[in-house]
Symmetry: C2
């Protein structure tokens, strides 16, 4: 049995949507502990029995993460992480400031053995199976060796969550040839090629549409831009399609067609899809989209629970030393 | 009256599709001159009267652009550029190696006065109007001042092709706050803010779905990744939608719905949309997608002709000195 600690104060609609999501997750059989402003949270719980630890301070998106972690000792994210540190929970979910979750996780749980930089790994939809993109925003500028470690961590994550052997690792670059890219890509290419990973070479942004690689590696600046460009492009195309259908389709068909397309739209909607993993810290930490609704929070908590039950952290222990 | 020089040997299906596209453009009233292997081209022209200059060498995607430009003096792209240099044509269109077009343009036409680095500006679709993204791949690593110049060149391009005043310029970054980004983004932000451009601040990948900015500025590595990620995401979503419709929609509706969506899909298809501008050289140079079909080539040639008629190059002359 596993228990998930939830940062109840993190997210655009916290604590309301987070608490509602936690109630839904509990109804789906997940043991949850909430961390946050106890009085406020209990007013939203309306009698539902979910334990709460009182960490009433909130780290907002405007706060400097490193400073906030030092000065707001009773911040909700810290309470949630503390529960994992003390083995009272098996994983943390937060839809709050990504920076605060990152800095707090390093500070409370510690970096995993040998890890130079933790990374945020986003799980993206694909046609046949999903795709992992890392780093999607934790370190903007990194050294080639860090990209190699991202390859190892991404490979392990793909093994666990996609249940596949030897995941295919690709380096995101501006062309397929070995000579492509900036200095960092050319150096990382050599390191990845001589590693024991299943490195398939350089891959491009257009490969998100096929199953060429299971894991896309890049620096956190590029990864963040890619993730948001995917979101923007999906929305742009949805608007273009909606306009085209309005122009060309027999009106009574609009609603059934819209309904039929919905599952496809949802797959590329960050509010509705699975959250991101923080890799390289001594604990299971999952980061959700700030605008997550109760439904999204519920899904992410269930997802965190599934990862915990798969023995996520034990399987990760030797990732870097095996490289 | 303007004349467009076309690199007949550049592109995955050159010269066949290029020549066919040139014939279609001529039928639409554009004066075209083809540069390439005269005998081969004439076999595809099948008697259609289009002048050909004999530059039979081909620079392939595998060639090192700088070396190829030096060693293949009779390369088709050089013949096309030479026509502009000698005032025999008002613009060049090539679907061949982007690197060769870039190096060749700098070598034959020269960089415009004050320009540090030429840039490739892609014209992307939008809901209300289009969006310009530069640099989309000519210089992978640049200095902050180069990003400022991209802002000025992108602003001028938006004025000319969208016919708007004071285009909104945004810096592509991993967040909206002034403090976001790597050193280069933080420095470029300051330069852009104190310039006479209509700089609206940092913008994110998700802003491609709205009309927040007319011009998105970034380095060529990030720009290239963004462009290809847009392509990949659009295709991924199209596949997801096609699968969802197949699952959920009454079968006889599939074809009419697919037909109704087609204009929206085409807008995000690089083979069908407008090509990219090479900015910062002394001549109008437009770069097409390598996989362009005859239809795409025709559209791009017409587009090049429209830009030439708008007095593109004259309007660009003082862009950097006015900054």
């Amino acid at each position: 049995m596993s228990t998930i600690a939830v940062d109840a104060m993190g997210g655009d609609s916290a604590p309301k949507e987070i608490v509602k999501g936690a109630i839904l997750a509990k109804e789906n059989g997940v043991d949850v502990i909430l961390s946050g402003d106890k009085t406020l949270i209990e007013s939203y719980l309306e009698g539902v029995k979910i334990p709460v630890v009182d960490y009433p301070e909130v780290i907002s998106m405007e706060d400097n993460p490193a400073r906030a972690i030092r000065t707001k000792k009773n911040a909700s994210i810290l309470g949630a992480l503390q529960l994992v540190k003390e083995n009272k929970a098996d994983g943390v979910f937060s839809a709050g400031s990504t920076g605060a979750t990152l800095v707090g996780s390093i500070s409370i749980l510690g970096k995993s053995k040998g890890v130079l930089r933790p990374a945020i790994a986003a799980v993206l939809p694909g046609i046949e199976s999903g795709t992992i993109l890392l780093d999607s925003g934790s370190s903007l500028d990194v050294k080639p060796k860090v990209l190699l470690q991202y390859g190892a961590m991404g490979s392990k994550l793909a093994e666990i969550i996609f249940e596949i052997n030897n995941p295919k690792i690709g380096l995101l670059n501006n062309g397929e040839e070995e000579s492509k890219g900036r200095d960092i890509e050319r150096s990382a290419y050599k390191l990845l090629k001589s590693s024991n990973l299943n490195f398939i070479g350089n891959i491009e942004g257009r490969d998100f549409a096929n199953s060429k690689a299971d894991v896309f590696i890049t620096d956190g600046f590029t990864g963040n831009i890619v993730l948001k460009t995917m979101e923007g492009t999906a929305k742009l195309q949805q608007k273009l399609i909606a306009n085209a259908l309005k122009d060309k389709l027999f009106k009574p068909l609009l609603i059934p067609v819209k309904n039929a397309m919905k599952p496809a739209k949802d797959k590329l909607d960050p509010d509705k899809t699975n959250a991101s993993y923080l890799l390289g810290v001594n604990g299971l930490v999952i980061i959700g989209h700030g605008s997550s609704t109760a439904e999204g929070v519920k899904n992410a908590i269930i997802y965190t629970n599934t990862s915990a039950k798969k023995g996520f952290i034990n399987k990760f222990t030797n990732t870097i030393s095996e490289l």
